[in-house]
């Protein structure tokens, strides 16, 4: 009798232990995680009112790319570079030219006779057919080139490592711009991470994204600041985080197409910095992905989506 009692007792005890272990195990499964008492919901910042969306995606061109590349537009075509390759594509995705270069490309700019590719610490120029014209020396050991553009026949290089812009003439003689103007609200280029873009407008204005200050700044060739605007805000009309806009391009009429990291999105701003519309909101990009580099052909915005490995083409919405 006593033996039986002990057996029953041990059986109940064993069931109890198994139940406790099972509950604990199931309860601790990540997917059964309890409500986070420290939840910080950033979802509301990711939604964009439909009334603000001005573009719709019209085409995707798949690309093979291992390291983040760059893209620009010239003569209504796309020039795209990544790894050691440079490609000229039509808006329909047809390859018009294709050549290889000596190092992985970080930035590209094109004129009627030259394709300038920037590597990490130096740059080189090629003909549209891929014939090498010249190559610069290493700029400095801590140089980290993030953008290249043409200004009045000169080559403009943005160096995020040195937080400087260099302007090179035909003889590769350089001039430095540090973005220090003496004006009370300007402190040189504040580049906390490697996002430092430059672009030249159709009317030959050199603009730089001073990303740490969430500012777009217009300089002359001598480094004098001529104009600037900034928009600091967590809301859709501004730039937030440390390094935005990560990339930008200029439309023919001087408006800005900006691309942001953190909350990945592409927007259009007026010449004076008012938000006009959103080309693509965070919902169309990979969460916590890379800021897409952008280029413009007319009203069409072209984005290099490294996370999805494609060039994405956004056309203006009919109804807008």
């Amino acid at each position: 009798m006593q033996n039986k009692m002990i057996k029953y007792f041990l059986l109940v005890l064993a069931i109890l232990i198994v139940a406790i272990i099972a509950t604990n195990y199931i309860g601790n499964k990540p997917k059964n995680a309890k409500q986070n008492p420290y939840e910080y919901n950033v979802e509301e910042f990711k939604t964009v009112p439909d009334s603000l969306i001005s573009h719709t995606e019209v085409r995707q061109v798949k690309i093979t790319v291992k390291q983040h590349g760059s893209l620009t537009s010239f003569d209504n075509t796309i020039w795209f570079s990544a790894d050691n390759s440079v490609k000229n594509l039509s808006l329909e995705g047809k390859i018009l030219a294709d050549f290889t270069v000596s190092e992985p490309v970080r930035a590209i700019a094109v004129t009627s006779d030259l394709v300038v590719v920037a590597y990490e610490k130096k740059f080189a120029a090629y003909s549209h057919d891929g014939e090498k014209a010249f190559e610069s020396d290493v700029i400095t050991d801590s140089t980290y080139i993030t953008s290249v553009a043409f200004l009045n026949g000169k080559i403009v290089i943005a160096d995020a490592g040195k937080r400087k812009i260099y302007i090179y003439d035909k003889n590769l003689k350089g001039r430095e711009i540090e973005g220090i103007s003496g004006a009370k609200n300007l402190h040189g280029f504040v580049i906390p991470s490697p996002y430092f873009d430059v672009a030249v407008s159709a009317s030959n204005e050199l603009w730089a994204a001073n990303t740490g200050m969430h500012s777009l700044q217009h300089y002359d060739e001598n480094g004098n600041l001529l104009d600037s605007w900034e928009k600091i805000s967590n809301n859709i009309d501004g730039f937030c985080g440390c390094c935005n806009p990560a990339h930008f391009a200029l439309m023919n009429d001087g408006r800005f197409v900006t691309s942001e990291k953190g909350l990945t999105r592409i927007k259009i701003y007026s010449r004076t910095g008012e938000l006009e519309s959103v080309v693509a909101g965070p919902d169309v990009f990979v969460e916590d992905g890379h800021a897409p580099e952008v280029a413009v052909i007319g009203d069409t915005v072209i984005a290099l989506d490294f996370d999805r490995k494609m060039i994405r083409i956004f056309g203006k919405r009919e109804s807008k």
């Binding site: 990540p30 995680a33 008492p37 906390p192 937030c240 985080g241």
Partner: protein
């Protein structure tokens, strides 16, 4: 004022902050190395995998979590509008408690020079909740991140947080190199950045 001039931004960014982090990490590495047997392993958070679920604050076996926020100053923008410090939508960027995101006011905001602010974690107050990390990752550079502090951690056989981590972000690392700190994009260990550009 004179002091401020001598201690300019670039010097600050280039040397001071970097060294402060380096010394901090080296110091901790030293303590960790003492705590662990040579050749052993300890638990650590991969900051690139962590999704700031809050369980680092609630699931450590210690009454005060061994997880703390650390700051990779090299990556920080020293921004006025810090996504890790301020609640969203704050218009008046001041240190009022109502503006701060951190539930324990563990982040100190210090003016360096116009327009730079330094953000320092008071580890005594930090509970490892990751709220600031979420803000910094979503809106900023992700310079704030969570790490298991080996001067506090018991190095349990099975880390109670690793067991419940929804992102599989906690793994064993070598005890003589126990921190997974985000790096400087111009330094040689910039592999941490090359996946971001």
């Amino acid at each position: 004022m004179g002091e401020e001039k001598k201690y300019n931004r670039r010097d600050f960014l280039a040397t001071g902050a970097r060294f402060s982090l380096a010394f901090g990490v080296l110091g901790l590495a030293g303590i960790a190395a003492q705590n662990s047997r040579a050749g052993g392993t300890v638990w650590q958070i991969d900051p690139f995998k962590c999704t700031q679920c809050g369980r680092c604050a609630t699931d450590c076996v210690l009454s005060e979590s061994a997880v703390k926020c650390v700051h990779a100053y090299d990556l920080c923008g020293y921004c006025d509008l810090c996504g890790g410090y301020f609640k969203p939508g704050v218009t008046d960027l001041n240190t009022g408690a109502e503006n701060q995101l951190c539930p324990t006011a563990a982040i100190e905001r210090k003016f360096i020079e116009e327009p730079y602010f330094e953000y320092i974690i008071n580890e005594e107050l930090c509970i490892g909740c990751g709220k600031c990390v979420k803000g910094c990752t979503s809106f900023g550079n992700g310079s704030l991140h969570l790490q298991i502090r080996h001067d506090l951690c018991d190095n349990c056989n099975e880390c109670a947080i690793a067991r419940v981590c929804p992102s599989d972000a906690i793994r064993r690392v070598q005890a003589n190199d126990p921190y997974l700190i985000k790096g400087d994009f111009t330094a040689s260990e910039k592999t941490t950045w090359t996946n971001k550009i």
